[in-house]
């Protein structure tokens, strides 16, 4: 991993130990700080690739520390990891320019996925590994699908966005409204039939038997789900 230096700022030793251990296990180099002063010293010693920042710290608050860190390095990615779950705190943090806001308690897997997403967004995705769906392989970089018989199908922009949304939520139901928002930045009203057309075309390129889909599954009344290995409907 190219960008792997993480500064973890939290005043709880047990939490620093747990998150630090998990991220080190994922290949990150983690520096831990228990206060604003320690965090500033750590940043001065060497620029981290991202900062995971608690809000309530013994010698200040994370919002102010974000401002100070960004003053020195405007492009520094920061994720808030906070016990404050009210909308006002979340919106304040994101409004200050934080890249993400995760509320405690949280699952470590969720934290590492969201951290990876932020790093991809800030430093570039790099080549994305192809996705295997049944017998077909999706090459995200060339926006193509290689079918089991070797035939290669190109994805349109809408099909690509649709498949990417489903892939990012593989194994989970994605409502038709969420898919419409991803494709047209709007709600379902008026787009339902168009969405069904795109789904049908995508199935024709992706499925071995489009009339009996095994990859893009319909969840009646709700939306669609991309079948993930080991995850059924």
């Amino acid at each position: 991993m190219q960008h792997n230096k993480i500064l973890l700022v939290d005043d709880e030793a047990a939490l620093r130990e747990m998150v630090g251990g998990h991220l080190r296990g994922q290949g990150y180099a983690v520096t831990a700080a228990a206060s604003c002063a320690e965090a500033r010293r750590a940043c001065d010693a060497g620029r981290p690739d991202a900062v995971i920042l608690d809000i309530m710290l013994p010698d200040g608050d994370g919002f102010s520390l974000l401002g100070q860190l960004r003053q020195a390095d405007p492009a520094l990615p920061v994720l808030f990891l906070s016990a404050r779950d009210e909308d006002s705190a979340r919106l304040h943090g994101l409004g200050l320019g934080a890249d993400d806001y995760i509320t405690k308690p949280f699952l470590l897997q969720e934290l590492s996925l969201r951290l990876a997403a932020v790093l991809r967004r800030v430093y570039g995705a790099g080549p994305q590994p192809p996705a295997a769906l049944g017998g077909t392989v999706v090459d995200w970089d060339s926006a193509t699908i290689r079918r089991p018989d070797g035939r290669v199908e190109s994805l349109t922009a809408k099909e690509y966005a649709l498949l990417k949304k489903l892939w990012d939520n593989k194994g989970r139901i994605v409502t038709t409204d969420a898919l419409c928002r991803a494709l047209w930045d709007g709600a379902l009203v008026g787009y339902e039939n168009t969405l069904m057309v795109h789904i049908r075309r995508l199935r024709s390129k992706l499925e071995v038997d489009p009339s009996h889909p095994a990859v893009i599954l319909t969840v009646r009344g709700l939306g669609y789900k991309l079948a993930a290995p080991g995850v059924g409907l």
Binding site: E12, A14, L15, M18, V19, H22, M56, A83, R84, D85, E86, D87, S88, T103, K104, P105, F106, L107, L108, Q109, R172, I173, V174, T175, T176, D177, A178, A187, L188, V189, E192, V219, G221, L222, G223
Partner: protein, 409 residues
């Protein structure tokens, strides 16, 4: 600094109010004293009129009743009676330095004031003048003359002033009460914030490690099940803490509403998808017609989503075997988002749940309160001008309806 300034201001207001009240009470007492004291307590002080009434004239002999004469001596009074020409025709205990004849100018001089420093009161007696004197230095006289209109105004303004001061005192009391209430609310909000913060951090450690165990492919099956249960328990506590926080913020109107127009069906779908994705429910039925798809609400989507999740949680916890049904129903200019679940005694359940409209209380044994989730749903409904109702749509099916105003389409 602000606190000290506020305290000083409060003390000042209190002192002013107390001062004005005291002034009013003294004024009232003074007026009562003038009007009533002489009438109610005739023996309190001898009046010149009383003395004149006690004089009796028989031929050239003038006498004063012995009882009054004795009282006058006890109080140090002296008295005299002047004829029309200013001659003293009768006196009692008149000091030697007081002349026996007075000119009209001298009479005019002492009538309302002093005669050689003796305070004087006079009363017309036949053709003459009865004079009652008090010991030197025993009385102070002050000429207080008012224009009649001004005096009338003063008398009339006393009740108005009294009312104004009463209103000021009431307003002050109300303000003080509200400030105290706001202080208590803020303290409670800080306490809940603090407690929820202190709970969330250790909960993160438990949930984080349990989640990591689940991801470990080498974990034995039984241990994996236990880890899943730990994560589920942590999620429940997380939801409970969030509900408590949100309930408090809605109660104290600290929760900003971010309303936007959105399809009611989309809200139902999002809640159903989350319940299925998170494993809260295994089966949900949701069907909508094109008419129902056109129903638009102007709501805070996050709050309504939270309310629907709580209804789904409630359906899971208290419902019987079978799928949970989600549906929409238009009720006039309102829309009901329905969450129905199988329930053996749906009618009785609906009646029981309809009665629980107040905030859940801690149980007598100190255990945690039940019903926070439904109370939160009611709060969300109220915040949008709606309501939560329970009804049995079939003998074995209980429906919770979140009724919200819908936008005209």
């Amino acid at each position: 600094m602000r606190g000290a300034r506020g305290l000083l201001r409060g003390v000042w207001l209190l002192l002013v109010s107390l001062g004005l009240t005291l002034f009013l009470i003294l004024t009232a007492l003074f007026i009562m004293g003038i009007w009533n004291v002489t009438a109610e307590y005739p023996n309190w002080k001898i009046s010149v009129r009383e003395m004149a009434d006690e004089l009796s004239v028989e031929g050239d002999t003038i006498t004063l009743s012995p009882a009054l004469a004795e009282r006058m001596r006890q109080q140090g009074n002296w008295a005299m009676l002047l004829d029309d020409d200013g001659n003293v025709i009768w006196s009692q205990d008149k000091p030697a330095d007081i002349p026996d004849r007075f000119t009209a100018g001298q009479i005019a001089g002492f009538t309302h004031w002093f005669l050689q420093d003796y305070p004087i009161n006079v009363w017309v007696y036949g053709d003459g003048l009865a004079v009652l004197a008090w010991p030197k230095g025993s009385e102070v006289k002050y000429n207080a003359s008012f224009a009649a209109r001004y005096f009338d105004f003063l008398l009339r303004s006393v009740p108005v002033l009294f009312l104004v001061i009463c209103c000021a005192l009431l307003l002050y009391a109300r303000r003080s009460f509200r400030k105290e209430q706001a202080r208590r609310d803020a303290a409670r909000a800080r306490w809940i914030d603090g407690v929820s913060h202190d709970i969330r951090t250790p909960l993160s450690v438990i949930m984080g490690y349990a989640g990591a165990w689940i991801s470990d492919p080498g974990l034995p099956g039984q241990r994996r099940t236990e880890a899943v249960q730990m994560v589920n328990a942590c999620t429940s506590v997380k939801t409970l803490v969030s509900d408590l926080n949100l309930t408090m913020r809605l109660d104290y109107e600290m929760q900003p509403h971010r309303r936007e127009k959105m399809p009611a069906a989309a809200l139902l779908r999002a809640a159903a998808a989350e319940a299925l994705n998170n494993g809260l429910l295994e089966e949900i039925e949701l069907e909508t017609t094109p008419e129902q798809e056109a129903i638009i609400l102007n709501v805070d989507g996050a709050l309504v989503h939270r309310a629907l999740m709580n209804l789904l949680q409630n359906a899971k916890r208290h419902g019987g075997q079978g799928a949970v049904r989600l549906s929409l129903r238009r009720v006039g200019r309102r829309c009901a988002l329905q969450v129905c679940n199988p329930c053996a005694e749906a009618d009785a359940c609906a009646k029981r749940l309809s009665r629980t409209t107040t905030a859940p209380a801690i149980a007598p044994d100190g255990s945690a309160a039940h019903g926070t989730g439904l109370y939160l749903v009611r709060q969300v409904a109220r915040a949008h001008g709606g309501k939560l109702i329970f009804r049995a749509d079939k003998p074995d099916s209980l429906c919770a309806e979140l009724v919200l105003p819908c936008v005209k389409t």
